[in-house]
Symmetry: C2
Subunit: 212 residues, 2 copies
DNA sequence: CGAGTTGGCTAATGACCATTAGCCATCACA
DNA sequence: TGTGATGGCTAATGGTCATTAGCCAACTCG
């Protein structure tokens, strides 16, 4: 009827919100959609069109908010790695007891992998999709993270508190158990995050040879 | 000089080998190359040109030997799942002792993930790349495999041999430890496959609460 | 109210890719 | 020796995709 010249898309704008908040919300929605899609389909199988559709816009419009598809992945991967390290740092302060430090470290590790299962899942599966130098940065972070567990276990062995054959294998087993959590855990299942963290804490102490 | 008409590729053939052996060798080389490349780069990032180059031919020539790229992936995934189940079946026969059955099951699990780390790695990362009905088939197999561990642990608890909170969490931890092995193990490192299998057997027994 | 900014859109662009078509040299074997 | 099968090849084919270009409406703010 009345003109309606070319494109027929809907309301592109909405007022009533502080300037920056709206823009930040959209960026955050895009990151969240990308995270979900990367986890469900894989990074390479997810298209910019998919991500756009998940937030109600077209693929090319995403470039008004993010620089590239790769940037979305890199943010997830680097953020995940840094958060794990920060959580670990926070976990071990406040006690010198090596048993307690291990329990807290493992609980933080499990908690992150249960609460942020998509981030952790993508963070573990898509390392090969990262371009340099991001890939090296993430790998260095993971290596640092593993070393913290290994050195903690070595300290426990040196003190005579822990009893085991190889600190390296113990640290890998404990970390890999946690990584596994991200692939099967879902809220509302048999266990709460707290129950899970506590049980894995027990398991870790058994692995290092501490009697209950 | 002498003619050399069009294409300039090299010797396409070689005699002196029983018919079927040569053909089977090439198919096997292709599968091996595909496995390595899928592990290094991911299924979607690997092109038929890549696989061809790894065995010295062009991408399209692969179709004289395999039906599709997806077939290569499906063979890896289904073969891996079936081998794990077969190894587990073989591991538990010959003893009724639940401790011994768990040790043997875990050793078989670890052995497979160390010896066939590429298959196991791809088998775990590329489930989402499988098309139906292959994906469901593999998922059903994995679910069956996990159930074997869980029911074994439940039996140990019922007998009073094992002492733990949740058989499900114990089975997941043990399986996830093994899956992790496929991502870091390499021949010639600190441990042999046998040493690794034995140590993880110990760890599993600790997890289920058996005292050494 | 009017000019610049924002964030949509569609339509290229320039790749890349799995697979198919069709060609041909070599081989095995009659 | 010649014929069919085998397994290479190059050149389509038909598709997908990340990203860029260029357009435009609505909003913001002076």
């Amino acid at each position: 009827m009345t003109s309606s010249r070319s494109g027929s898309y809907e309301r592109p704008h909405r007022p009533a919100q502080p300037e920056d908040t709206r823009a930040a919300d959209r960026r955050s929605a895009i990151r969240q959609a990308a995270l979900r899609l990367f986890a469900e389909q894989g990074y390479r199988a997810t298209t910019m069109t998919d991500i756009g559709a998940a937030v109600g816009i077209r693929g090319p419009s995403l470039y008004k908010h993010v620089a590239s598809k790769h940037e979305l992945l890199a943010e997830i991967m680097i953020g995940t790695m840094e958060q794990l390290i920060a959580d670990n740092t926070a976990a071990v302060i406040g006690t010198d007891d090596v048993r307690e430090q291990l329990r807290r470290s493992v609980e933080a590790h499990i908690r992150y992998h249960a609460r942020h299962r998509l981030e952790a899942f993508v963070g573990n599966r898509e390392i090969g999709s990262l371009e340099q130098p991001d890939q090296d940065r993430v790998l260095r972070g993971r290596s640092d993270y593993e070393r913290r567990f290994r050195e903690l276990i070595e300290r426990g062995v040196a003190e005579g508190t822990f009893h085991l054959q190889s600190a390296r294998i113990a640290s890998y087993s404990i970390l890999d158990m946690g990584i596994g959590v991200a692939s099967w855990f879902h809220e509302g299942g048999e266990f709460s995050v707290d129950q899970l963290a506590y049980q894995y804490g027990d398991i870790a102490l058994r692995i290092v040879g501490v009697r209950a």
